[in-house]
Symmetry: C2
Amino acid sequence: MTTVPVPAGSLFGPDNLPYGVYSVAGSAPRVATRLGDTVVDLAVLLDDEVFARPDLNAFMAQGHGRWVAVRRQIADRLAGEVPDEALHALADVTLHLPIAVADYVDFYASEHHAANLGRLFRPDNPDPLMPNWKHLPVGYHGRAGSIVVSGTDIVRPCGQRKGADDPVPVFGPSVRLDIEAELGFVVGTGSAMGDTVPVTEAERHVFGVVLFNDWSARDIQAWEYVPLGPNLGKSFASTISPWVVPLLALEAARIPTPVQEPRPLPYLAMEPPWGLDVELSVEWNGVEVSRPPYREMYWSPAQMLAHLTVNGAPSRTGDLFASGTVSGPAKDTRGAFIELTWGGTEPVTVGGEQRTFLEDGDEVVLTASAPGPRGSRLGFGEARGRIVPARGVG
Amino acid sequence: MTTVPVPAGSLFGPDNLPYGVYSVAGSAPRVATRLGDTVVDLAVLLDDEVFARPDLNAFMAQGHGRWVAVRRQIADRLAGEVPDEALHALADVTLHLPIAVADYVDFYASEHHAANLGRLFRPDNPDPLMPNWKHLPVGYHGRAGSIVVSGTDIVRPCGQRKGADDPVPVFGPSVRLDIEAELGFVVGTGSAMGDTVPVTEAERHVFGVVLFNDWSARDIQAWEYVPLGPNLGKSFASTISPWVVPLLALEAARIPTPVQEPRPLPYLAMEPPWGLDVELSVEWNGVEVSRPPYREMYWSPAQMLAHLTVNGAPSRTGDLFASGTVSGPAKDTRGAFIELTWGGTEPVTVGGEQRTFLEDGDEVVLTASAPGPRGSRLGFGEARGRIVPARGVG
């Protein structure tokens, strides 16, 4: 039996207790939590087979009451001595995709991001926002099957692009490969077809939060996206962090969203403060190039889920919806390189080199933290990915 | 032991042998085929536990060689006497969603449909097609979790809409509820992230074909879709037929697609004839209002799958991609009511009533058939759905 040590200042202290899926050599993936730099096997700690599985879905499907009870159990057990067979050093384990992703939807909830893209792509338009933008959280479905865990290499995608001066489209590796720094929200319990999830019920459905990098090939996207939206410019890969931070851990991070004016329709009216005071960081080859502030996001996760289901669309355990790029008002808070470099016209200096979009071998790491109780801070782990060269297409 | 009877002229003769999932009262869903009006339990017929499951995915994942072998086994066994415990009258069983849907993508592959919508929505534009349309099969990801089996009632969706004269958006039940008559293609074996499925390999990956009704709320869609594409206007429900017709059954239906000019980029160049001579029928409250001809479709399923994966996006067993609305050149071959009624300005007569879009209580049934070997015809079953009134939203 051992008391799990927590290094001073750890972002994974006893107020965090995120959920993930780990394995060690020769064993199958199982659910764990993390305390300090120790990975704690939950099937062993709690003697509960629902955690002896390769994803969180079965546990999440047990519902909000169980999420509350299990979080308390974990905290109680970890406050005392823990069986050694439950414990693994973080450095000794492999972390896996923590959830089996059902449907994945990406929103576009940052006013700064939407307005920046409007200014870049529609410079003659006096209003950089589309007419619908302040009335509904605009979003689209993306490819669930290409969501990967932090550390997975990202193969540069090939596809069609057509510049303004190209007479016909050309095919080849993307030359404008970008990131989008986002948060992702994991649906723990769904809703039946025909039902809705009102804003006031969202916290009984949203299990937790991950970091999300929506890798984006801007050249492929620009040519394909009219009129049905992004497809191959996004579908090649999205990276999430391996630790799902429970919404229950983020009480101290809950703040009001920015004022929403015009007032949204009643089904989007908010009651509890549903903004999140999460501070993201974007590192490009080890250099921090941006600190996107989630607190600036216009539409809240509760509004996103209410919107997603207001037409009676069912939601399921394992659904994942992401916020869209988190961008603040200042240049060094923009969460996509197309904004940070203003469409590639204002390079940033990264390790002595000038960069606009991603080159082969580049690595991007997203991290984040949020306030916890009693002045603590909670971490989200990281969403890391390295670009490897495009493969030849026969 | 019994010889399964096949009524004269049955669209489910021994050249079809589709796959579905059925149950009888008190038993779990299992995989079956259909011969005439008899449902044949495949786990019993072939003594193979891979069919004692609630979806086709495990069997599909065994790959093309097994699909060929099992189809031959089924035909051989059904040519003789069959154990009675394998047999159920079609009228006595419940049919279920035959596959566990992984990712769902909807294309837009009919030139007539795309051009009609261009004329309706952009009447001042000399070219009704978007610049990208003849260069790539345009498509977008839809909601996998709202795909339902034929016979499921469709709750009229609520959502935001904003007419040209509305100063602000209004919320309520859709007033322009439509259908899209399509075919859906089921991916039997996938491809790894970073890999591609060349056009020439598509038939080793595409397991079979279903009817697909992509119910569409045109008013919700029109307001939401810029710039990220359709979302709530489509995500409330899509209906598929319960029988997956194997691609192996459709050899006699394979024909060239229409000439593709300009010539597509090499990754989309086709070798075998990949058009499908499938004749669809749309019944509205029992009246056939359209006969959409699949043979007119510009982009082929092999091109759709090659495009979907050319950026290295992974594909999985259970992925479903649909063709988009099937529309031919003649008015009575249009596969969506927005085209058939020219944006609601030219009502059609249905059972003595004038109709533009769907009213509560309306029922739509899609059916289809294709040529089989030796002059036979093969059926696809039906995709049936009835509109029930919107539910109040709190």
